[in-house]
Structure formats: structure tokens, C-alpha cells
């Protein structure tokens, strides 16, 4: 098992680059959506980056993840092409899903990314299925279900957790508790308030961690992966976090205290935390991180420029890929 203290300079820089890329992707989308040029419904992951990256840095392309409606971060962390994602969100033919999925359905089977999922709680049963495949192949790889405090109130998640325990499959449930299920506070909607406790009730270990701390996420994930590969079955990680934007873009967030987000951006920002930790540990130089910040802006600039210039799908695309053969 690799723990974060053993991560060398290159791995730490890669983790920071991934987190920064997600942040830049989402902050830029926030701006571009306001122009009206992006169709549909978009849910931003900004603020939660350390969870996606801390989890996926423990995985390879042969491991599986199943994501949520708030899935851009998971996609980037699992290695999906940022340009292809941006085109998908703009509804372009060259998007990762040919413009037929959009923000809530980005997938890349070649990266083990089995799909963002617009149905809250829809993903965990699918992740258990991928874990069954992993088990049949000797537990060399694992399957991760991302979810939130909202999904933790869905019966499908309970079914998936119980089945994972019963079948002892290498599944890992990552519950990102960002305090809000859509517009409703977790303090109201989660009966016990204890997501990890629910997972434990099904007979698996569950850790509660600070989701803004990349190192904590990475280490908890390392323990869960080791357990899974050792044939000991599923685990759950409950990561406490916040989201910087609304449930969807355009949500005025009238249910949040006026200064809540501004305060959390100061006290609970994962990128800031990562930098502070790096300065303390002398693992990576601040200048190296600054360079990554600049690089991320350029990358997303190019992705947006290309996406805007790209062609939309054509009529024939409406009819293709419903079936392989019909």
C-alpha cells in the first residue's frame, strides 16, 4: 500500500495538477455557462477536487469508477481527455460521447470510467457489477462508486452496499458529504447524519475523513484498495467537503447563508491546503505549483476555444448507436 508520505515529488505534482485542472475546468465553465452558450444542465465539482484526485491516484486505468451527475472531477481524475470532455459539454460531435450524453453522462471505457450518472443512486449497483468482474479475475483491480449525502438516502445504494458485502467483492463506496442534497441540507435529509454508520451497518469498515485533505483521502483510499485486493471485500469512505457552486449552474443557493461559500473558500480549500502542506513538508516548491496553475489556465483556454469551434453532431447521429445491431 502506498501512503501519501511516500509520494515523491513527481506524484505529488501530478496530484496537484489534476486538482488544479478540475478547479480551472469548473471555474471556467461557471463563466462560460453564464454566456448562455452551453446547453442544458451542469453541476460543478469545484471545492471537492481532493476527493476525486485522492481516490483516483490510488487507481490504474484497469480499475473502474462509476460517477454521479456532478462528475467532471471524477472524469478528469480518472484520466478522461479534457478537450473531449469540454466538447461533450458543448454538445459537439467530437465530444467524448459524440455530444449525445452531455455533462451528466461523460464516460470513457478505455479509462475504466463507466459513466457519470444523472440518476442519484444509479451508479453504485453498476459499480458492484464491475467489482464482480474484478473478483472473478482474481481481485487484481477494484471498482469505485462515487456518491454523495443525497445518494446515501437512496435504496439502490443500500442494495449495492449489502450485495457487495454478501458477495465480498472489491468495491469501494466513496460518499462525498458536501452538506447538500440538491437544495436540501444533509442536516435535515440524512436521518442519522452518519453516512459511514450506514455503511458499517451493512458489515463493512467505513472511515470518516476530511475531504479537503488530499493526503487523508489518498491514505484512506490506499487502505480500502489494499483490503479489496486482499479479498476482504468492500469498504466505504465518507469524506466531508463543501461545494462552491449551486446544485446546478443557475441555482441562486438561497438556502445557504450569505457568507458560507466565501468562508469555506478560505478555511476548506483543498488546493490551498495542499500548498500549505507542501510548504511545511518541503516536498514540492511553490514555484512548481505556480507553474502548474499557469499551465492549467492555458489548457482549459485551449479546450474551450476548440469546443466552441467544433461542429455539432449531424442528423445521422440522432439514429446511430441505439443498438449495435437491430
Amino acid at each position: 500500500m502506498t501512503l501519501s508520505v511516500n509520494l515523491g515529488n513527481a506524484r505529488l505534482l501530478r496530484a496537484y495538477r489534476q486538482m488544479r485542472l478540475i478547479r480551472e475546468f469548473e471555474e471556467r465553465l461557471h463563466v462560460e455557462i453564464a454566456t448562455g452558450e452551453i446547453p442544458g444542465f451542469t453541476h460543478l465539482y469545484a471545492g471537492q477536487e481532493a476527493i476525486a484526485v485522492g481516490v483516483c491516484e490510488q487507481l490504474t486505468e484497469s480499475d473502474y469508477i462509476v460517477s454521479t451527475h456532478r462528475g467532471h472531477g471524477h472524469c478528469i481524475a480518472k484520466g478522461c481527455d479534457v478537450g473531449g470532455m469540454m466538447k461533450e459539454i458543448y454538445g459537439r460531435k467530437d465530444g467524448l460521447c459524440h455530444g449525445k450524453g452531455g455533462s451528466m453522462h461523460i464516460a470513457d471505457m478505455t479509462k475504466g470510467m463507466l459513466g457519470a450518472n444523472a440518476i442519484v443512486g444509479g451508479g453504485p449497483p453498476i459499480a458492484v457489477g464491475a467489482a464482480i468482474a474484478c473478483k472473478l479475475r482474481g481481485n487484481r483491480f477494484v471498482s469505485v462508486a462515487f456518491g454523495g449525502d443525497g445518494s446515501a438516502n437512496q435504496g439502490t445504494v443500500f442494495e449495492a452496499m449489502n450485495m457487495a458485502v454478501v458477495l465480498r467483492v472489491p468495491a469501494i463506496f466513496v460518499l462525498e458529504n458536501n452538506g447538500y442534497s440538491e437544495h436540501t441540507g444533509a442536516a435535515y435529509a440524512v436521518g442519522s447524519g452518519d453516512l459511514a454508520g450506514r455503511a458499517r451497518g451493512f458489515g463493512m469498515p467505513a472511515e470518516c475523513i476530511d475531504g479537503a485533505d488530499f493526503h487523508a483521502v489518498y491514505d484512506a483510499m490506499g487502505r480500502a484498495v489494499a483490503r479489496a485486493k486482499n479479498g476482504e471485500g468492500p469498504s466505504t469512505i465518507e469524506a466531508t467537503i463543501t461545494r462552491y457552486y449551486g446544485h446546478f449552474e443557475g441555482d441562486p443557493q438561497n438556502y445557504r447563508a450569505k457568507d458560507e461559500v466565501a468562508r469555506l473558500r478560505v478555511t476548506m480549500d483543498c488546493l490551498k491546503r495542499f500548498r500549505e502542506r507542501a510548504a511545511l513538508d518541503h516536498t514540492v516548491a511553490q514555484a512548481e505549483l505556480d507553474a502548474i496553475d499557469v499551465e492549467a489556465v492555458a489548457l482549459i483556454d485551449a479546450a474551450v476555444r476548440d469546443a466552441k469551434a467544433a461542429a455539432p453532431p449531424v442528423e445521422a447521429d440522432l439514429y446511430s448507436d441505439v443498438y449495435i445491431q437491430y
Binding site: 473502474y64 462509476v66 465530444g95 467524448l96 460521447c97 459524440h98 455530444g99 449525445k100 450524453g101 453522462h105 464516460a107 470513457d108 471505457m109 478505455t110 463507466l114 459513466g115 450518472n117 444523472a118 440518476i119 444509479g122 453504485p124 449497483p125 453498476i126 459499480a127 458492484v128 457489477g129 464491475a130 467489482a131 464482480i132 468482474a133 474484478c134 473478483k135 472473478l136 471498482s143 435504496g155 439502490t156 442494495e159 449495492a160 449489502n162 450485495m163 454478501v166 458477495l167 446511430s320 448507436d321 441505439v322 443498438y323 449495435i324 445491431q325 437491430y326
Partner: protein
């Protein structure tokens, strides 16, 4: 050729396919049964209808998986396993239970390939027992194939006899698209000639069960043997009918139905699903649009009433269309004004 029941034909198909391809897994409630029981009998049931019997001892617990009663997790797990390269055959014990896992069927597996831009394959088969006639009441007797036929991305298979059941199930397992496979409970004991070897029956090709000249009858599942009885009785009076069993409702072999109607000009559709937005009304709409000028008489739909399925044998008998109703419908179709 050996005579097998539809149950045994399906069982044989599963055995032969699982031996052929080790990516095939079977999962569902009590598919072997006995796990965690006190008798120590590990294969205590082999499925409540016996369709999965003998699979566990032959293929082991890794590939024959007894699940908790969790239909969403069963279908979802089958979907995820399929995306990850396996070829799962999931079982929903009664088709009625689709009510608790509809999301995984119509939002997930049906849409993966389209919404992921053609970059995923989900070769999953979901078998389910359906149909009335065994006094199982409103929540264990429905057919629901009309609901799922309406969903783009799914293939819908509904065999009426042992030969088709085996060939269609093997085709379903080898097919790369998601397939919903309906098995009528009352047809499990129905015997027919079934070759020992593995063979496939293509989707979208209707079977012409009887050939005649006066009326076209389209029937599905258990309605096929009922229609056979009605048609054979009428043959003694010189009335002959085409009897078409679509075998799959998605894809639907419209051509065979249209061609027949162009010959007879009269159409009776026999469907065990409810009358509104059902297969009968769907087929009637297709014929009305594509063969209107061939029709000599209005299309007749023989279906149950717009009610839930009652428990009492006296009422269930009234609910399910039987040979007398089919015979009467054919006679009515022949009455010229």
C-alpha cells in the same frame, strides 16, 4: 428429435452457453438457492421454476451467484459486469418486480451505448417469468412486455414454445445489445421438439405458426397455443388463418404481419397485456398506417380488460383471453357488412 419442456430447453441453453463461454455468469434470487440455509443443501432450488438447475455444481459460485432480494442491485450489477467485459444473465424472479428496478433497466442499460456515444457495449440478458393463469394475483401475474418494448435500446424477446425458447435464449446471450427475455410461467411445462445441439433463432423474424387464407392472427406467448386451438377448430369449418408469432417485439417483424394482412385483409391480434398502449394497439397502429387499404374489416384486438389481474380463479379465467374469445374474434373478423 427429443421432446423437452420449455423449462428444460431454457436450462439446456444456459448449460451449453456457460460451457462455451466462461464470461457468462448467472445471477439472481435463488438461482441455485440454499446459500446460508441450515440443510447444507447448496443447490436447494435451482431457481423457483427450475430454469437454472444444475448450473451451480457445474460452474461454481463465482459464476452462479445467489443474490439478496435486491432487484436494483441485481440488474445494476449485471449492467456493470457487462460494461466490465462479462456476459451476465440476470434473473428477475417475476416480471412484476421490474417495478423496483426500472431505473436500472430503462435509464441505465437501455441508454449506455447511445449516451456514451457508441463506445460501450452492455451484453446483458435479463430473464423474467411473466404471465397470468396460475392464480398468483395482481403482483405476480403481469406481462409488462409492452412497457419495455416502448424503451429504445432494449431488445424484447417472448418465446411461445420450447424450440424458440432455446434458440432465442442462445441468441440473447450471444447478442451484444441488452436483451429482456420474458418466459411465460404457464408455458414452462409446454413440450416441443428441441435439438440437442446449440442453435440460435434470429431476432426480428416472426414465426408463421399456421398458414391460411381468411384471417391473419397475431399472438404472443401463451396466446399462441390458445390461438392454435381456436384456429384448428375453425379449420374443420373450412376457415383458415395465418398465425403469426412475432417472437420478439423489439425488433418487431412488421413485414411478415403486413404481408399477411395484404393477403387476408382481416386482422385479429391476441395479447395478454392490458389493452391501453399495449402490443395489440401498437401492432394495430402499424397495420393501420402501412396496410390500411388492404383491410376489409376493422382490426380486432383480443386483450384482457383494463383492470389489474384478479386472484380468484373464477375471475382470472375471465381476465385471460382464451381459445373461445379468439375463435369468436376470428368469426367476427369474417362477418362482412
Amino acid at each position: 428429435m427429443p421432446q423437452l419442456t420449455m423449462r428444460d430447453a431454457l436450462n439446456q441453453a444456459l448449460h451449453q452457453e456457460m460451457a462455451r463461454d466462461e464470461r457468462i455468469i448467472v445471477l439472481g434470487e435463488d438461482v441455485s438457492g440454499g446459500a446460508g440455509g441450515t440443510s447444507g443443501e447448496r443447490e436447494a432450488s435451482g431457481g423457483i421454476f427450475g430454469v437454472t438447475k444444475g448450473l451451480l455444481p457445474k460452474f461454481g459460485e463465482g459464476r452462479v451467484i445467489d443474490t439478496p432480494i435486491s432487484e436494483s442491485a441485481i440488474v445494476g450489477a449485471a449492467a456493470g459486469a457487462a460494461l466490465a467485459g462479462l456476459r451476465p444473465v440476470a434473473e428477475i424472479m417475476f416480471a412484476d418486480f421490474v417495478g423496483v428496478c426500472m431505473d436500472q433497466i430503462y435509464n441505465q442499460i437501455a441508454k449506455f451505448r447511445y449516451m456514451f456515444g457508441g463506445k460501450s457495449t452492455c451484453p446483458v440478458v435479463i430473464r423474467m417469468a411473466m404471465g397470468a393463469g396460475m392464480n398468483m394475483g395482481p403482483q405476480h401475474s403481469q406481462t409488462i412486455y409492452s412497457l419495455l418494448t416502448a424503451v429504445p435500446g432494449l431488445k424484447i424477446v417472448i418465446p411461445s414454445n420450447a424450440y424458440d425458447a432455446k434458440g432465442l435464449l442462445i441468441q440473447a446471450i450471444r447478442d451484444d445489445d441488452p436483451v429482456i427475455f420474458f418466459e411465460h410461467k404457464a408455458l414452462y411445462p409446454r413440450k416441443g421438439e428441441v435439438p440437442e445441439n446449440a442453435y440460435t433463432v434470429a431476432f426480428g423474424e416472426a414465426s408463421l405458426v399456421r398458414q391460411g387464407e381468411h384471417v391473419t392472427v397475431v399472438a404472443i406467448a401463451r396466446m399462441v397455443p390458445f390461438a392454435e386451438r381456436a384456429i384448428d377448430a375453425l379449420a374443420k369449418e373450412g376457415i383458415t388463418c395465418d398465425l403469426i408469432d412475432p417472437r420478439t417485439t423489439s425488433p418487431l417483424d412488421e413485414e411478415t404481419i403486413i404481408e399477411s394482412v395484404e393477403g387476408t385483409g382481416r386482422l385479429v391480434i391476441v395479447d395478454e397485456s392490458p389493452p391501453r398502449c399495449g402490443m395489440a394497439s401498437d401492432i394495430a397502429a402499424i397495420v393501420a398506417q402501412k396496410a390500411f387499404h388492404s383491410l376489409k374489416r376493422p382490426i380486432i384486438q383480443v386483450t384482457p380488460p383494463h383492470t389489474p389481474i384478479p386472484f380468484a380463479p373464477a375471475l382470472e379465467r375471465l381476465y385471460v383471453p382464451g381459445p373461445p374469445r379468439i375463435e369468436a374474434a376470428i368469426r367476427q373478423a369474417l362477418k362482412d357488412e
